[in-house]
Symmetry: C2
Subunit: 321 residues, 2 copies
């Protein structure tokens, strides 16, 4: 089974030693990835972005980082300077997830930025959660997505890592809304986090939700909806920090083997989900890269550096060559 130019549309690589540890897993399986900017300090200006991109390039081969910049109240000059260096601008509502304390407190404050992005054809990537009750946060954000989609009809908006199935119905309602789906929201439910013993390693934001949400996300992905793209949201934290309550799942090592099983031999839909949909929706041009999976038992790593990966120790039917 050969995939052509798979792209991870939502990836956290961190920096320094952590980056060196985790990046090889993504670079092995993907031709490119959209890199999230929520570092400390955030990647919110050109110099920081160029340096961060360089760090990724230096530590990988044949792998294209598509850079996201952290949303702030950019002026036109800053945005013009960034335009050719970025894939999208990432909007974090303030305080919602890891290192988002410096995020946007009021959507209205960035309306002029969104206007400019729309004119410059820069996509908007959104962590769509309110500060409400944890299971309702995505649903409560739906009205904000609708308002953004209507107010900026020429702005391409990505609803990142959706875990609430109702949001899938926005895709056909609004031409300019797209979505990414993670491996964990596709395959798991809240049972993995709090159903047995408490499992910090499956704790993430947005929290993984109900079987109904998971099943409906699976249905939409299996029918190959063009506006749904794979974005792992692989987000490594040390085991120490996970035990202190940090949110994020390190899924990078197991992505393609797990998806190969999920698609049960439907390579066409698999290919669309991990590559074609993204490339066509966003005109992404990156060097072609073939990634081969062979049918051979493969065991997911128990530990990677000081990080416990998703599906640690689980046996898969496919192995990435």
């Amino acid at each position: 089974m050969t995939l052509n130019t798979p792209i991870d549309m939502h990836l956290h690589l961190r920096e320094g030693e952590m980056l060196k540890t985790v990046l090889p897993y993504s670079a092995k399986q993907f031709a490119a990835a959209v890199i999230m900017p929520n570092l400390v300090p955030p990647v919110d200006n050109k110099n920081r972005l160029i340096d961060y991109k360089e760090e990724i390039v230096q530590n990988s081969d044949n792998f294209t980082p598509l850079m996201n910049v952290f949303m702030k109240e950019f002026d036109e000059e800053e945005l013009l300077k960034l335009k050719d260096e970025i894939f999208a601008v990432k909007l974090y509502p303030a305080g919602i997830t890891t290192n988002s304390e410096g995020g946007v407190k009021s959507i209205e404050k960035i309306y002029s930025v969104l206007e400019m992005m729309s004119e410059l054809n820069i996509p908007l990537s959104v962590h769509g959660e309110t500060n409400g009750f944890v299971l309702d946060r995505e649903r409560e954000f739906i009205d904000i997505y609708k308002k953004l989609a209507k107010d900026f009809p020429n702005l391409k908006i990505i609803m990142e890592h959706i875990g609430t199935s109702e949001m899938l119905y926005l895709l056909d309602e609004y031409e300019n809304l797209y979505t990414t789906v993670t491996l964990h929201h596709l395959l798991l439910t809240l049972d993995e986090v709090v159903g047995g013993m408490l499992n910090p390693h499956y704790f993430c934001k947005p929290i993984i939700k109900t079987p109904k949400d998971r099943d409906e996300i699976q249905k939409f992905v299996k029918k190959g909806h063009k506006k749904i793209m794979f974005g792992s949201d692989s987000a490594p934290h040390s085991i120490k920090n996970k035990l202190k309550g940090a949110a994020g799942i390190f899924s990078a090592p197991v992505i393609l083997p797990a998806l190969a099983e999920f698609f049960e031999g439907d390579l066409e839909t698999f290919q669309k989900f991990v590559s074609d949909n993204a490339r066509e929706n966003f005109n992404i041009n990156v060097p072609e890269k073939k990634v081969e999976l062979i049918e051979e038992e493969w065991t997911a790593p128990y530990i990677v550096g000081n990080i416990k990966p998703m599906f640690a120790g689980k046996k898969f039917k496919f192995k990435v060559l």
Copy 2:
């Protein structure tokens, strides 16, 4: 504010050193408590029960343990021997909570025991959860409660520690159904567990649920429903075991100060909730004990032995004398 003979209708005291550490907090605030039998091995026979009761009596003053025995396929002789020593028989569906692996796998298997209990006027205490999706487990158990209530109309059945508000409506539908409500299901939501950083200290079974569930439980408790009784389900685990994922909240140190604030001066309803309802519903006769609360700022302990209590470090307006 003076409470007359408060009773905790659902308490875990553990054994040995742990018991010595936690028991004083309950004995200070309550005249009596219903003691849960899920030890290792379980308290499922008369000798073990007598020994356990003795351990509690030896380690407290002016405090009456009302003993529960762990449900198994008792014959009539065993049950007759236990009758005068116990308050109720506790039914744990197998594998649902801490040390419930030896619980009941099929309700039908204990029908003859329930028949005998009904004749001997021994109440049934139930951890009402299925093995389904974590947020649905209590709701899915409703049909089992209904069936038990109908099949054994003379058996008093306690739906323990309810966190799903729909179950409150069974109380008026079935004369022989009663319920206990914990401090944490009364005051908190799932936000405390997974809404910010992951917080293992508020992880318990049944999992704390939605604002809607909490608000409706509060409404029923505030209006003083006679069949709703306070049962803390205070369930201490060492911090080490909590970090390994053990379910349970150690609320014992903060119960009356927290409830005093909740009832906002409505001593009549407070008294019913923590005492009169239980004594009247189950004809509980224990030595009278007055417990006084004074209006004085009091800070909940940050740590008790190797256990982190509920509301650790929180300031309360009332203090138990």
